[in-house]
Amino acid sequence: MSEPLDLDALRAAARLAGFAWSDTQLEAIRPMVEASRRLLAGLEELPLADVEPTTQFRMF
């Protein structure tokens, strides 16, 4: 999940999400995307199976 991303994979993922960013723009964000993926991978370590997400926040 947190392996390095090559430009082709990044371009394909961006297009899939509807963004036609240039290779220069994609190269600029690649380190940040890789760092984000490493950080987000940590969420898988949490015991979340029985936890309902906070989709409607606390209100009274």
């Binding site: 990044l10 993922a13 961006a14 999400a17 509807g18 963004f19 036609a20 960013w21 723009q25 600029a28 964000i29 940040m32 995307v33 984000s36 993926r37 950080l39 987000l40 940590g42 969420l43 898988e44 370590e45 949490l46 979340l48 936890v51 309902e52 997400p53 906070t54 989709t55 926040f57 606390r58 209100m59 009274f60």
Partner: protein, 471 residues
């Protein structure tokens, strides 16, 4: 002029109501001060001098006519430039919205005007509120007033709000707080400000960064003024679907100065541990001062806080990308690259990540609730460091080096994630003369106790009363 510049909002309201000073005199002196100082401070994006003077003359007429006055009648106000203001551009600190002129005021702006406040203009901020340093490539980097020799960060994203209040340009400013954007500039600029409970104050008419993490609140020079402003802002608003129907207490009446028997949980692991030695010592001294005043202090931990960075990233990146998607398709080059790249990276956070983030949020909320079942408030540093230099990229923390952005947001973001009310208040200065901020966290919708603790502390200390030396 100097006395009016640093008078509290409560004092100004009292003087104006008592006909001891005119709103015209107050507003004129603040506008003159903005003209004189803000060229270098860069706290304002737009100054609405003419409208402010018109409002001041109307306010003066109301006083002289003996009409009923609001609790903040004639008191100047600065607005972070993401609050909609009818007929006045609201840029979000961006080039993209540089010419956007809303048709109506944000709910809280309307409420504060109804309470009598007079807006002097729109304040600088990090572009679209996405960053804690206080830099802005389009409108200039706001300058922290506490160091005349070095350009230091004001903290963000409500950077102009922090600078304007600290420099005596306005007594009250509004900020917004998605990961600490009220509390970080308060900490770095020596101010008191509160991020209320999620749902306590309407977000209607405030440009969003992350709908489920955004909070709005006041930034002032003392806790009593935060109490006064929050009372005027808070309460149910049908225009905000997450607005709470709970009644709003009189926060000023709650400022008893009495903390005897109050249980304070001092957050050492992760919080004090990551602070520099000067920040840690100041917050520990604040805990002792509260203990001396009769509070019961012990230590408490929030082990799940280590997962907040990942969870908050999943939530904020996804919600921010969703808001900005159309512009990122057509105007990506108009963002400051430092902001645009982070927004674009949000396109690669998956739906599963987002839900995991919201699940992690439920765990964190439960953990903070459990800590607050045994304590009335939690106490921690607001930021682990004092104001870095404007171009600093890395800072030394108590537990290792960190990039500046992660360091500044580290101790405030957990309570955006959990939604609990939290204020920042000054609790000391470094040997170099930079302010240190502590954070007081309370139970949901118990802003009254949070402000009571901050106010009680300010009755026995004078950190909040110190002023920067300005040219």
């Amino acid at each position: 002029m100097a006395d009016l510049a640093f008078a509290s909002a409560a004092e100004l309201a009292r003087l104006i109501a008592g006909k001891q000073v005119s709103p015209v005199e107050v507003v004129r002196s603040q506008l003159e001060r903005i003209t004189s100082l803000d060229g270098s401070l860069k706290s304002f994006i737009t100054v609405t001098a003419e409208a402010a003077m018109t409002a001041a003359r109307e306010a003066e007429a109301a006083v002289l006519a003996g009409r009923p006055l609001g609790p903040l009648h004639g008191v100047p106000l600065g607005l972070k430039d993401l609050y909609d203001t009818a007929g006045v551009r609201t840029t979000g600190g961006s080039r993209i919205l540089a010419d956007r002129v809303p048709a109506a005021d944000a709910t809280v702006v309307r409420r504060l005007r109804e309470a009598g406040m007079i807006t002097l203009g729109k304040l600088n901020m990090v572009e679209f509120a996405y960053g804690p340093e206080g830099r802005n490539a389009h409108y200039g980097h706001a300058r922290n007033p506490w160091d005349a020799s070095t350009h230091r960060m004001a903290g963000g994203s409500s950077s102009g709000s922090g600078v304007a209040v600290a420099a005596g340009l306005v007594p009250v400013a509004l900020g917004s707080d998605t990961g600490g954007s009220i509390r970080i500039p308060c900490s770095l600029c020596g101010l008191t400000g509160i991020k209320p409970t999620y749902g306590r104050v309407s977000r209607a008419g405030v440009l969003p960064l992350s709908w489920s993490m955004d909070h709005v609140g006041p930034m002032t020079r003392n806790a009593a003024d935060s109490a006064l402003a929050l009372r005027a802002m808070a309460g149910y608003d049908a225009a905000d679907p997450t607005s709470s129907v709970l009644p709003v207490p009189d926060y000023t009446a709650a400022l008893s100065g009495d903390v005897r028997g109050l249980r304070v949980g001092l957050l050492r692991a992760f919080f004090l541990e990551s602070a520099t030695s000067e920040v840690r010592s100041a917050v520990e001294a604040a805990a002792r001062a509260l203990e001396h005043a009769g509070a019961i202090v012990d230590e408490v931990a929030l082990p799940g806080v280590r997962h907040v960075a990942a969870g908050a990233l999943a939530v904020v990146a996804t919600e921010a990308m969703s808001y900005h998607a159309a512009w990122l398709r057509t105007r990506a080059g108009d963002y400051d690259p430092a902001v645009g790249t982070r927004l674009m990276a949000g396109a690669f956070v998956t739906g599963v990540h987002y839900v995991r983030g919201q699940q992690a949020r439920a765990l964190m909320r439960r953990e903070v609730d459990e800590a607050l079942a045994r304590h009335d408030v939690l106490l921690a540093p607001a930021t682990p460091v004092t104001a870095p230099g404007i171009d600093d990229r890395e800072v030394a923390l108590g537990d290792g080096a960190s990039d500046v952005r992660s360091a500044l947001i580290r101790l405030t973001r957990p309570f955006n994630f959990s939604g609990h009310p939290a204020c920042s208040a000054p609790c000391g200065f470094t040997a170099a003369g930079l302010p240190i901020g502590m954070q007081i966290v309370g139970r949901p919708f118990d802003e009254a106790t949070v402000l009571r603790v901050a106010d009680a502390y300010q009755r026995v200390t004078d950190w909040h009363a110190r002023r920067p030396v300005l040219a």
